[in-house]
């Protein structure tokens, strides 16, 4: 693919880069390939390979968080002109965070915390008992899960005041775990 890429100008690379990113985000769109192929007067297969190759370059570089220098070193081995190398580097630098965030969504399977809303209620009666006084805290937990798209789920839960205090103290202990010297040492040294 890269041999063919060397024939194209900077704007074409930009265009290909954009297509590659869209590919990452949404999957391949054959119509776009056909449009680009017509504009450049090359066969569709060439466009497709070009885009895929570019995409591979972007994802591998972003995956390993390659520095500028390392990126240039890798690209130089492909034997392109300086201008092309620079435009590829620009493409990488500008988009690597985006690429990383798209890639990170590939993995996240467990729902993540989004927000929590609460309400204090007192139950006064039910169908089977009148004259009650039961305090309870109703909690709406909003979670986001990243499988297909960002699907939001919301759950209504309840708890009584003493369990609420227990939950709070348990989670405060969880937060304190981050501040121990053990945790700090690991976070500092594994980078």
């Amino acid at each position: 693919f890269l041999l063919m890429v060397s024939f194209f100008s900077y704007t074409v690379i930009e265009e290909f880069g954009r297509i590659a990113l869209e590919f990452l985000r949404k999957g391949a769109n054959p119509k776009i390939y056909e449009g680009a192929a017509r504009k450049l007067c090359v066969p569709v297969g060439m466009v497709q390979h070009g885009v895929e190759g570019l995409m591979f370059l972007m994802t591998e570089s972003s995956k390993h968080m390659i520095s500028e220098v390392d990126f240039m070193d890798s690209v130089i081995t492909l034997g392109f002109g300086e201008e092309l190398n620079q435009s590829l580097l620009q493409l990488y630098m500008r988009h690597k965070h985006q690429v990383r965030s798209i890639l990170s969504q590939l993995l996240c399977n467990q729902p993540a915390y989004h927000n929590l809303e609460w309400r204090l209620d007192v139950q006064l009666a039910s169908r089977s008992v009148r004259q009650q006084i039961i305090p309870m805290v109703t909690i709406r937990l909003l979670l986001t899960s990243y499988d297909a798209n960002s699907t939001h789920s919301c759950m209504d839960l309840q708890t009584d005041p003493s369990t609420l205090l227990h939950v709070i103290s348990t989670l405060e202990a969880a937060l304190a775990a981050m501040k121990t010297s053990h945790a700090r040492r690991i976070l500092r040294n594994i980078k």
């Binding site: 972003s62 995956k63 390993h64 968080m65 990383r100 890639l103 990170s104 590939l106 993995l107 467990q110 729902p111 993540a112 915390y113 927000n115 929590l116 809303e117 609460w118 204090l120 007192v122 039910s126 169908r127 089977s128 008992v129 009148r130 004259q131 009650q132 039961i134 305090p135 805290v137 109703t138 909690i139 937990l141 979670l143 759950m155 209504d156 839960l157 309840q158 708890t159 009584d160 005041p161 369990t163 609420l164 205090l165 227990h166 939950v167 709070i168 348990t170 989670l171 405060e172 969880a174 937060l175 775990a177 981050m178 945790a183 690991i186 976070l187 594994i190 980078k191």
Partner: protein, 193 residues
């Protein structure tokens, strides 16, 4: 307390000294309370020796009426005067009213608890567990190097328990705890009113 005709008739039978003698009265009361509180229905519950001589149909009528009356009394948290005046209207002697009321008081809390547990509610949070993990890399990305929490809420709904699992960052956990503390503070304020 509003009672249906059949319940009233059943209770009147119970009040009638000629239909139900003294030992039968106490036994019927105990049997009725026990039937409400036991977890399994017992078809032989009315086969008590003190009740052998009584008409079977009357027995069932009385038993149904008494259990209904007990449930209504507990449901509405009826006080002594309400129960007494209700029973007196149904021709209960003072002595029998008192026996009923004492037995009622003995079992009231248990029946109340039973009645409160009936009904639908949101899943109830019982416990929470957590894990702190350090995400280094995965199949798609290297050099992530971020700590994150895995929180598991143990909830229970009508006997079946379910775990709700989710991840969050340190900031998100701080947000979560802050909001829960707000809730706890408002509970405390409300309890002082």
């Amino acid at each position: 307390m509003e009672l249906s005709e059949s319940v009233q008739r059943g209770l009147q039978l119970l009040a009638d000294q000629s239909a139900v003698d003294h030992s039968g009265f106490q036994v019927l009361l105990d049997v009725s309370f026990r039937a409400l509180l036991s977890s399994r229905a017992d078809p032989t519950i009315l086969d008590q020796p003190e009740l052998k001589h009584m008409d079977r149909i009357h027995l069932k009528q009385i038993h149904a009426a008494v259990t209904t009356f007990i449930l209504e009394a507990v449901k509405h948290n009826a006080d002594q005067s309400t129960i007494s005046s209700c029973l007196e209207e149904l021709t209960f002697s003072t002595e029998r009213v008192e026996i009923f009321f004492n037995t009622h008081q003995k079992h009231k809390k248990d029946i109340e608890r039973l009645l409160s547990s009936i009904g639908r509610r949101s899943p109830h949070i019982n416990d929470v567990s957590w894990r702190l993990e350090y995400h280094m890399k995965n199949g798609h990305l290297d050099k992530i190097n971020e700590p994150f929490y895995l929180i598991s809420l143990n909830t229970e709904n009508e006997g079946s328990s379910e775990d709700i699992n989710f991840t969050c960052t340190t900031e998100q956990l701080q947000d979560l705890v802050a909001k829960l503390k707000d809730a706890a503070k408002s509970v405390e304020k409300a309890s002082q009113m």
